[in-house]
Symmetry: C2
Subunit: 697 residues, 2 copies
């Protein structure tokens, strides 16, 4: 295999220079199998660029070769002496099966860096760990470390359409151009970019990709049958980097594609159709990952039409995939999107729990319930979805949104890893209890570990993600899915050191400092100038970009803030509201219920309060709105200035600098628009003047 | 020519039965020329259906034939004796040239009904007048009446695209299906429906049609050049009914189609291009009407790009069309659609006057300034556009919107003739001064009479207009354009008597009564449940259907209401607001300026007032909002009940009844939504409870 190289496409976090440390050394790759071939090819390629060498591992001489880096399967018969030592130590420290299917151990002793893995996939991830470490992987001694992913599946869901949807475009909620898979209604002829994409994903730890939109339209439904060839080709392109493909399927496929009169999951002919269809998929793609389903949600078909439960629906597909080791990701994003805004008893936040909690224990082992991290829909601030703590006997996948639908649409800098990190570290049962990451990683006794999933932010844009700095979100998602406890600041360092530093001239420390200043708190900056105190939405309906405080207030979408002249917020308490707080276990069921204990940043998510309500910092709600909105826009102005100062110093390429600058101009305009609309709205409603006399329109 | 007959398309106001009175009689058609042929063909067709006869007008026997109806050109050498008498009397009463190009005289004496015209077009309109009169045209004596259109051009503007626009659809702001002209990007193969459409238009007095959208996209721009064949075919289909075609053109055509580097109206090569192009159009379509232009408006190109005035732009095209008798309709709908909502000094209502009033006297005689009737954009209630009183030396066309963009989109019953009638009868210079109809009809001394124009509501829907009762708007527009002083109630009677009565079984009086109850006040009913007191907009951005009180409040479109917790409305006074009131001549400049004299229905258009402001009827603004909204929705419920009672009695066809019923269901749902959103919005803002304790959400 040749290493995919692209012209006129940004190298993201794998510029050739990132391989300099490896490529300038003597590297022994001692392993068999397809993924081991990838490792070898990567090393050979790097050594070709930077003067290193890759001696052939002749069995009886392995022990004697003078090398700087050993990448080997621990099962290989003969290893260099230093690697033998590392193997022995790992065995003593971690026991047999130390690495599992994807892990590796890493050590450096006697000037030799050693990566050992039980399986070739582990070697691949070990290689990219050495890439990340760069020069620091070499030379000085490093004790034996074990690296294993916390989650079984680290998955990217593409919301790509084959045909351009008249409203949603080719990539639904995509802000980086067209699909990297399809163009003009057909699979792209040249999939080099898909291979390069797989390489980027492997380098941050991702091992699964769902290739098409969960809203499965007519053309995309046929990927399951007569357009399966498209999936085969994508799978072939991604397989060398250890990535399995999954497919979003339409629940009504037996009708639409199979000509059956029903899609009832308990109907024998329907089950038979799915079994046969799935068998054909696996006959063609033996390592096919499985299905992803959005059912009974926002107009998609589902089991409710037949009076069946979502467990019935998911299990039918799980049964079809089980003989082949496949899984079904079944989305819990089910709610009434035709709600009457006048009906205050219905609460969209409750819906997923109400639908799915009663089904715990009724899902097959290979059916995975995929839950958005918050109860609503990827707002800049939401509490944890209570579903995540409500199904102990069900395998879960937690879904994040890397694509910035509600967080600036890749026109705004918004580094999301701090939000995801906060979610993953959240303890649904309070201090001392397990974290969300634990829930996902441990899984139920019956089923094994769960998954982390994210919606892709990638398109055919030359910078992959529209906003070049949005690449960090994709990178960070993969790294958090592998190791959820990693500090987002450290992840950003990794990303900077891979993406910018190897090719930068000038002072890399200045670059690092600037990017941290721009990005570390960009999430809370975005939060400051948009919807306040956890209330959510307030975006333009449809495209979801820019402010419209009442945009969703009188719609059927279940997303309200109930602002009037006296106050704002949604009463979700048990005492007087929708009772949503009762879906949490203690202590959160009480913390959120309590007006005094509820965290400020979620106040309006759980309570309707007067504008004069005093927050924990002593400010009133309305003054907080004014203050944060002025401050948020100011911070964006500062961010923009920081970036401008980076120009022309060789720290970032001119095209990239120009692209980010253009986006920052728009971010500032938009942040000021948010500031002025939100402040004007609440001033007009409340009549309360700003304590500092600033201009409100 | 055969009379166009359609299968599966509603006959609108020309069902075969409407011709029974003529078709069952002996009719002499005594005239020459193409339109006279149409008259003859119509009569022959009617007589074929109902047993009448059409004796050939053998010259030396004309006087002796026993006929019931004479349709003759007054210039014919020999007329029946009774027609000679009528001719003589008309000459005495009205002088020579009594009828002009399109008028006719009508009389009945000695049991013979006589229609005389100077030109064949007059005969055609006379024929349709006899159709309208039906049996009452015959038998009893009728003194000589003269009928002449008040306006030179009675024109329908189609906003049809050739290609389906991704957002605006095939017919921009069309609510009745696709275009009757184009389908799948090409001219329809069978233009029978276009001929039938021309016949309907002629029957209500329309004599000009602009065939394509004023937003001229790429494909449509080429109608001027290599797709001129489409226009030829449409012109051929409409010509037999006396209708000329006009074309919307793109101001930048010299660049886009001609390959020139500029579209500067003073550039010689540009003028030359338009001259040559126009010459080619007239060589192909000698009776081509002329051009329609939306320039420098909502993104369309225009003369501003070259530092030229709109007079320069219009005159360039007028000069190109003048040698062939063509005209240019130049739209005055020019405003800044990228306004900053924070800037309260800019007022979209001012824009047309500010742009065009200084240009009075600078337009060519064949350049017609086309002005929307209100200063904003076809809201349910607007004051008169002050432009109409501001250019005494310029020919004007007043533009109405028959398509119900802001008045229920042909899902709501909204008979618009009362609004248009009010506009046409409005006296910009106060009591005793001329009316708008006078301004249009008289025109400036230099140019002659002006035009009335309306945006079409027709599509390929089986009922032509989506909502069958919306046909009345198209009919009424034509009739008002011909005779602006006609009572809208009488026009509705005409329409009912043509459309329904001839084929109805049962009690036609009950049908008439019900339709009047449903339609006479449907405009003010719609006003009641939508945006109050002239404030306008409050619709969902983009599609403009349904309520969204703040939908346009923070947008660049210049359409604001400025509601806050204390009050609502736009201060357009000279004293403290934008000064728009100063664009009117007295007395209106003072009436609108005065908070006490300003008519209630326009209060919020001109003034920002507290919610407690007392209206002329003693109610407060906020109570008025509540009352009218409850009442409006109640009226719709009553309308719906009235229609339901018409079912099954043979008064209307079942398909038509079902279609109207389905629309009324939606109208009621929508009216209740408007009621609840608007009331909730103002209750939340004002905190004032409803005086009658009704439910506000």
């Amino acid at each position: 295999m040749t290493i995919p190289e692209l012209i006129d496409v940004h190298a993201a976090w794998l510029p050739p220079e990132a391989f300099r440390a490896i490529g300038s050394r003597r590297v022994l790759v001692h392993a068999d199998g397809p993924l081991a071939e990838t490792v070898r090819d990567e090393v050979v390629h790097a050594c070709g660029l930077y003067g290193g060498s890759v001696p052939h591992p002749v069995s009886d001489q392995v022990g004697d070769q003078q090398v700087d880096l050993v990448l080997a399967l621990s099962s290989m018969a003969a290893l260099p002496a230093v690697a033998e030592e590392v193997r022995g130590e790992a065995l003593r420290e971690f026991g047999p099966d130390a690495c599992g299917a994807e892990g590796f151990v890493l050590a450096c002793r006697d000037g030799v860096t050693v990566v050992l893995a039980d399986e070739p996939a582990g070697l691949l991830y070990g290689l990219f760990q050495v890439v990340r470490l760069g020069e620091s992987a070499f030379g000085s001694a490093r004790p034996v470390e074990r690296h294993r992913p916390a989650t079984r599946r680290r998955m990217i869901d593409h919301w790509d359409n084959i045909d351009v949807h008249p409203v949603m475009g080719q990539v639904e909620r995509g802000y980086a151009g067209g699909s990297i898979f399809w163009q003009n209604g057909a699979l792209r002829g040249d999939l080099t970019r898909v291979r390069a994409y797989g390489r980027l994903l492997a380098a941050c730890g991702v091992n699964a990709v769902a290739v098409n939109n969960v809203n499965v339209h007519a053309a995309e439904a046929r990927l399951l049958t007569d357009r399966l060839g498209d999936v085969v080709a994508i799978a072939d392109a991604l397989r060398p980097y250890g990535i399995r493909v999954h497919l979003s399927v339409n629940f009504a496929s037996p009708i639409a594609l199979g000509g059956l009169p029903t899609a009832d999951p308990l109907d024998e002919s329907v089950r038979e159709w799915w079994a046969r269809t799935t068998e054909r998929v696996y006959a063609t793609i033996p390592d096919f990952g499985g299905y992803l389903v959005k059912a009974d949600s926002e107009g998609q078909p589902g089991p409710f039409a037949y009076g069946r439960s979502h467990a019935d629906g998911a299990n039918m597909l799980a049964d079809a995939a089980a003989p082949f080791g496949g899984v079904v990701h079944w989305r819990a994003f089910v709610y009434n999107h035709r709600q009457d805004w006048r009906d205050r008893s219905t609460d969209r936040a409750r819906a997923a729990f109400d639908h799915f909690a009663p089904l715990d224990g009724r899902f097959r082992d290979n059916a995975i319930l995929q839950v958005k991290h918050g109860p609503m829909d990827f707002q800049v601030r939401e509490p944890l979805s209570p579903v995540i703590a409500a199904l102990p006997a069900t395998r879960l996948a937690v879904e994040f949104q890397v694509t910035q639908e509600y967080t600036g649409q890749q026109r705004h800098v918004c580094y999301l890893a701090p939000m995801w990190s906060e979610t993953l570290g959240f303890r649904p049962w309070g201090d001392g209890g397990r974290t969300v990451a634990d829930v996902v990683a441990d899984g139920p006794a019956a089923g094994g570990a769960g998954d982390l999933v994210a919606v892709s932010n990638v398109g055919d844009d030359p910078f992959w993600t529209g906003h070049p700095l949005a690449q960090a979100n994709l990178y960070a998602f993969g790294r958090l899915a592998w190791a959820p406890r990693t500090d987002p600041v450290a992840i950003l360092d990794e990303w900077i050191d891979l993406t910018f530093v190897p090719s930068a001239t000038g002072d890399p420390e200045r670059l690092r400092r600037t990017l941290h200043e721009m990005m570390d708190e960009s999430w809370t900056t975005y939060e400051r100038y948009t919807a306040p105190l956890g209330v959510g939405f307030m975006v333009r309906p449809g495209h979801h970009y820019g402010p419209d405080v009442d945009g969703y207030e009188y719609t059927p979408w279940g997303t309200y803030h109930f602002a009037d002249r006296d106050g704002v917020g949604v009463d979700r308490t048990r005492a007087s509201g929708t009772g949503f707080t009762g879906q949490y276990p203690p202590p959160w069921s009480d913390v959120y219920e309590s007006l005094t204990e509820c965290p400020d940043e979620l106040l309006l998510f759980f309570h309707h309060v007067p504008y004069g309500h005093v927050l924990h910092d002593g400010s009133t709600v309305v003054q907080h709105i004014y203050d944060t909105h002025f401050e948020g826009a100011e911070r964006v102005a500062e961010t923009r200035l920081r970036w401008e100062k980076l120009a022309g110093d060789g720290l970032v390429a001119p095209e990239l600098h120009a692209r980010v600058k253009e986006r920052l101009d728009e971010q500032l305009r938009s942040a000021e628009e948010w500031r002025d609309q939100v402040n004007a709205y609440f001033f007009r409603k409340s009549g309360v003047p700003d304590a500092h006399g600033r201009r409100i329109h």
